[in-house]
C-alpha cells in the first residue's frame, strides 16, 4: 500500500498529501492475469491503444510505436480489443 509504517506524528496537519501524484509509486501491474503483447509490423501508430488505456500506462517510443508499462498495466484488454489492426493480443500471465 505504502505508508503502513507511518505513525501519527508523521502525518501532515489535516492529513494533507503534499506530493502530487505520489500514488504512481503503487504497482497495479500485479493485478494482471493477462498481458498485452504486440506485433508491431502491422501497427499503423494510430495511438488508439494509448488514448483508450484507463491506466494511462501506454507510451509512445522513439520509433512511434506504443508500449504498455507493465508496472501499471492491469491487463484489461481494451487496447487489444480496440486496435484497428489487431496488433495487440492478450496472453495469460504465468507464475514466475
Amino acid at each position: 500500500m505504502g505508508g503502513e509504517g507511518l505513525g501519527w506524528k508523521d502525518l501532515e496537519i489535516g492529513f494533507v498529501v503534499t506530493e502530487p501524484g505520489n500514488a504512481s509509486s503503487y504497482k497495479t501491474g500485479d493485478w494482471r492475469s493477462e498481458r498485452p503483447i504486440r506485433e508491431n509490423e502491422r501497427c499503423i501508430k494510430c495511438g488508439l491503444c494509448y488514448i483508450y488505456c484507463p491506466e494511462a500506462c501506454i507510451h509512445e517510443d522513439e520509433e512511434g510505436y506504443f508500449e504498455a508499462d507493465l508496472y501499471y498495466c492491469k491487463g484489461c484488454g481494451i487496447c487489444a480489443h480496440e486496435c484497428p489492426r489487431s496488433v495487440i493480443s492478450m496472453v495469460e500471465e504465468k507464475e514466475e
Partner: protein, 310 residues
C-alpha cells in the same frame, strides 16, 4: 464528430497526464478513463472537488494521491456546495488583493449517486446561484463503490443488488433513468453536455468548453463499469460506443438553451446489441427489450426535435 481524425490521436491530444497511474480503479474501468480525459483537458490550473465514491476511493488512499492538481474531497453529497465556497473564496480574495487572478477553474466530480440522488440539492443550489464552475457527473448507473446498489440513474430493466431479479416477476430496476442533463438544462445554465469515454476527443472538447464558460456548466459522462454491468473488461469502449449508436445515451450539447447533437444517428442500432453484452440485462425477455426499444426511440425523437433535426 470525428471519424478519420479519431485515428492518429497522439497528434491531437496533450501527452500530459494529470491523473497519475497507480490508481486502484477496477480493471477496465470506464470512469477512470473518463477522469483521465477530463484531467488532460483541464490542465493543472484547476481546483477539483470530488464526492465520496469510486473515484475518491481509487485515487486517494492515504498517504498517496493520484491527483497532480489541487484536489479536495470531504463528503458524498456536498461537492457543489464545497465548490461554491471555493469559488467564492477565490473571487473575494482576488477582489481584496490577497491573491492574483490566475483564471483558475473550479471543477466538481461526482458519481451518479452523488449527483442524481444524494447531492442533487447542493448541485441545484449551486447552479441556481450561478457560481462559475464545471460539474462532471461520472454516471456508472448504480452505487458501484458500495456494491452495485440501484440509483435513480440505473436504467430500466438493469439488475442491481437492491433491484434484484427475483423469482416473482421481477425485472430488476422498474423505473426509468432520471434525466439529469435535462434537470441541469432546466436551471438555465449556459452549458450542458453529455459525453462518453468512447469518444475521447469529443469529451475533451466539451470539458474545455464547459470550463471556459462563465457560470455553471454540467457534463454528464456515461462511464462503463465492467464490475457492476457484468461485462468483460476489454469491451468498455465498445459498450460506450454502442450506448451512443443505439440511442440509449445520445451525445449532445446545450449551449445557452440551444441543443446540438454531437453525433446524429438517423438509423439507431437495436438496443439489444447494447443490452446483450451486459450481464445486468441478461434476464430480460423480448417484451421488456421491446419496451426499452420503444422508449429509447421516443426519447431520441424528442431530442432530435429539440435540436431542430427533422
Amino acid at each position: 464528430m470525428e471519424k478519420e481524425e479519431d485515428l492518429f490521436v497522439p497528434r491531437q491530444v496533450t501527452t500530459e497526464e494529470n491523473f497519475a497511474p497507480g490508481h486502484r480503479a477496477c480493471i477496465g474501468c470506464g470512469e477512470a478513463l473518463a477522469v483521465r480525459y477530463v484531467c488532460k483537458a483541464l490542465g493543472k490550473n484547476v481546483i477539483i472537488v470530488t464526492a465520496t465514491g469510486c473515484i475518491e476511493i481509487f485515487s486517494s488512499l492515504l498517504p498517496q494521491t493520484s491527483w497532480q492538481m489541487a484536489w479536495i474531497h470531504t463528503l458524498f453529497e456536498n461537492v457543489a456546495a464545497v465548490m461554491s465556497g471555493i469559488e467564492s473564496a477565490y473571487k473575494v480574495r482576488v477582489r481584496k488583493g490577497k491573491i492574483p487572478d490566475k483564471n483558475v477553474k473550479f471543477v466538481g466530480f461526482g458519481g451518479d449517486g452523488a449527483t442524481t440522488d444524494i447531492g442533487i440539492q447542493a448541485l441545484s443550489g449551486a447552479m441556481e446561484r450561478g457560481h462559475d464552475f464545471l460539474y462532471v457527473c461520472y454516471d456508472n448507473e448504480a452505487y458501484m463503490n458500495t456494491g452495485i446498489q440501484r440509483s435513480s440513474s440505473t436504467p430500466y430493466g438493469a439488475w442491481t443488488t437492491t433491484a434484484p431479479v427475483g423469482k416473482k416477476s421481477s425485472i430488476g430496476q422498474v423505473t426509468w433513468k432520471k434525466n439529469m442533463p435535462e434537470i441541469a438544462v432546466a436551471h438555465n445554465i449556459p452549458y450542458v453536455a453529455t459525453a462518453s469515454p468512447s469518444y475521447p476527443l469529443d469529451l475533451m472538447a466539451k470539458v474545455k468548453r464547459g470550463a471556459e464558460m462563465d457560470g455553471p456548466a454540467y457534463i454528464h459522462i456515461l462511464s462503463v463499469c465492467p464490475t457492476g454491468w457484468r461485462s468483460p473488461t476489454d469491451i468498455t469502449i465498445e459498450l460506450g460506443r454502442l450506448a451512443v449508436e443505439t440511442g440509449v445515451f445520445p451525445l449532445y450539447e446545450v449551449i445557452d438553451g440551444e441543443y446540438n447533437l454531437s453525433v446524429d444517428l438517423p438509423d439507431l442500432k437495436p438496443v439489444t446489441e447494447y443490452l446483450k453484452k451486459q450481464g445486468r440485462f441478461k434476464h430480460l425477455n423480448d417484451d421488456t427489450i421491446a419496451t426499452i426499444q420503444t422508449r429509447v426511440e421516443e426519447d431520441y425523437v424528442k431530442l432530435r426535435e429539440k435540436a431542430g433535426v427533422k
